[in-house]
Amino acid sequence: MPVIVGVSVVVFSIVHLLPGDPVLAILSGANATPEQERELRAQLRLDDPLPLQYVRFVTRAVAGDFGRSIFTRRPVIQEIAEQLPSTLELAATAIVIAGVVGLALGLLAAVWHNTWIDRAAMLVALGGVSMPSFWLGLLLIFVFSLQLGWLPATGQGGVSRLLLPAATIGLNYSAVIARLVRSSLLEVLGNGYIETARAKGLSEWAVTLKHALGNALIPVTTIIGVQLGNLLAGTIIVETVFSRRGMGRLAVTAVLDKDYPLIQGVVLVSALGYVLTNLLVDLSYSALDPRIRHREAAKA
């Protein structure tokens, strides 16, 4: 909660950190009409004391009113509502791809630890971590759209147009997950109870999947939570590469156009989404880890 208040203060301050007269600074890039200037002045009411302005900003924001975009003249909340589903769809598909590929690579590497499979998997992962998403995206476009002609390169709508951008983010992200699954699994596999499972004659795969994986996934969940921010980063860039609509695209155009009401809205919504997902990740621990569940039960 204090974090959310803090976030709102930061977002509120964006306008006040501008050099010079904020209204003029905001409108400088916009070819604004005097009418727009009047409206913005009325909207911001910069002569009031700062705390009062802040309270007004928050009251409006809570009601979903972030003002109007300087360029399109439409309510910011409407712009966001139009772009959000596209980004959520992209992010969700990317997470699924990342999870499946990352888990598979990590498992392979851990089970065949110190063999060429391990080394190959980790090399792929290193490449994935080091590959900027815009470059990966262009490579995918080059191969799958331009050379093979399997999938459309850009635009909106349908699974075929979702697959490449989601794969771009997903593969980037899966590299991180793979490295983590591997190291976490290796750590868990060193435990005594794993020896027990092996001793009773289970195959290595059964040991890994049934006994080790559950515990190994706990640190992985933490990092996935932290990495959700990077996923958002991924959408910002990938949406530009694939000319998709979405929050990321909206954020970039807003910054390029110096469309401050829009920047404020997008940043606030994204940050809130990020905080919320991290909260969900925290909550999911107790579902994953009986130890935490019991500790919390004991405390209560």
């Binding site: 974090v3 290193l126 080091s130 815009f134 262009l138 080059f142 980063a233 910002i236 530009t240």
Partner: protein, 278 residues
């Protein structure tokens, strides 16, 4: 420390060698480049890799190799500069918080929590939105987005080092708090700071190039990997080399930094494994 890591790990040595080559190419680019990286030569536009232009030319006939070498300067500078910003802020604030504790610590950590609520690139976008576009601002933006990670790491380690008997001894002997912090605590938190800095450099190079790719960084015709990659986007079929060369350069640099970073982490601080995945 570094020589030992390099001797023991071949992959780290490979990474370090690649970095040295890239750094030298960047440093001496003005003297080494075969062509002017900015001057337009329409007659040579879009020529494929050949003996005269090893990596081909772009849509304006500019030599890709020359642009890539010159572009390395900005990318490396952004990476190092951003980490320098984050490192300075992180060490000063983290050390102060860890040593002083109390209200200061509480307050600063709240601020850090708030900064953490903005995922890296979003924070960078906000900073660019306020400061405006440009090379220096991108560096600052990337640096600022890294500050919370650094502050948290340094503070956490300072808190655990502070509990050691030798720190208590120093305090009992009547050392000033600043002396305790600088002479007794700081040297013992250097290892994780080095590890995280290496990873952060890789991250900064990618983020910096991303911002230029989006058009928020330096402006064309300045040679920069992100810009060049973006400008080749519309020529993928006719001239794949325009985007591929800068793209490959970014990847190679980041792989090299990560190779060194991974080795350093394993040698210095295995505990950081998850953190270093930043």
């Amino acid at each position: 420390m570094l020589p030992r890591v390099l001797r023991r790990r071949k992959s780290a040595l490979a990474g370090a060698l690649i970095l040295v080559v890239i750094a030298l190419a960047a440093l001496f680019a003005p003297a080494l480049v075969p062509y002017d990286p900015i001057k337009i030569a329409p007659a040579a536009a879009l020529s494929p890799p050949s003996l005269t232009h090893p990596f081909g030319t772009d849509q304006y006939g500019r030599d890709i190799l020359s642009r890539a070498m010159t572009g390395a300067r900005l990318s490396l500078l952004t990476g190092l500069g951003a980490v320098a910003v984050a490192l300075t802020a992180g060490v000063v604030v983290g050390l102060a918080c860890g040593v002083i504790g109390g209200w200061t610590d509480l307050l600063v950590m709240r601020v850090v929590d708030i900064m953490m609520a903005f995922p890296g690139i979003l924070m960078a976008l906000v900073v660019v939105a306020v400061l405006g576009q440009g090379t220096l601002n991108v560096m600052l933006a990337v640096g600022v987005s890294l500050i919370p990670t650094f502050v948290r790491l340094v503070r956490g380690d300072v808190l655990s080092v502070r509990e050691n008997a030798y720190v208590e001894a120093a305090r009992a002997l009547g050392c000033w708090p600043t002396r305790v912090a600088l002479r007794h605590v700081l040297p013992n938190v250097v290892a994780p700071i080095i590890v995280i800095s290496t990873v952060a450099i890789a991250w900064s190079i990618i983020l910096g190039a991303s911002l230029s790719f989006l058009g928020l960084g330096p402006r064309p015709p300045i040679p920069e990997w992100g810009i060049d990659l973006s400008s080749g986007r519309n020529y993928l079929l006719r001239a794949w080399w325009i985007s591929s060369v800068p793209g490959f350069c970014i990847m190679l640099t980041v792989v090299a930094v990560n190779l060194v970073g991974d080795a350093l982490r394993d040698e210095l601080d295995p505990r950081l494994r998850s953190l270093a995945n930043l």
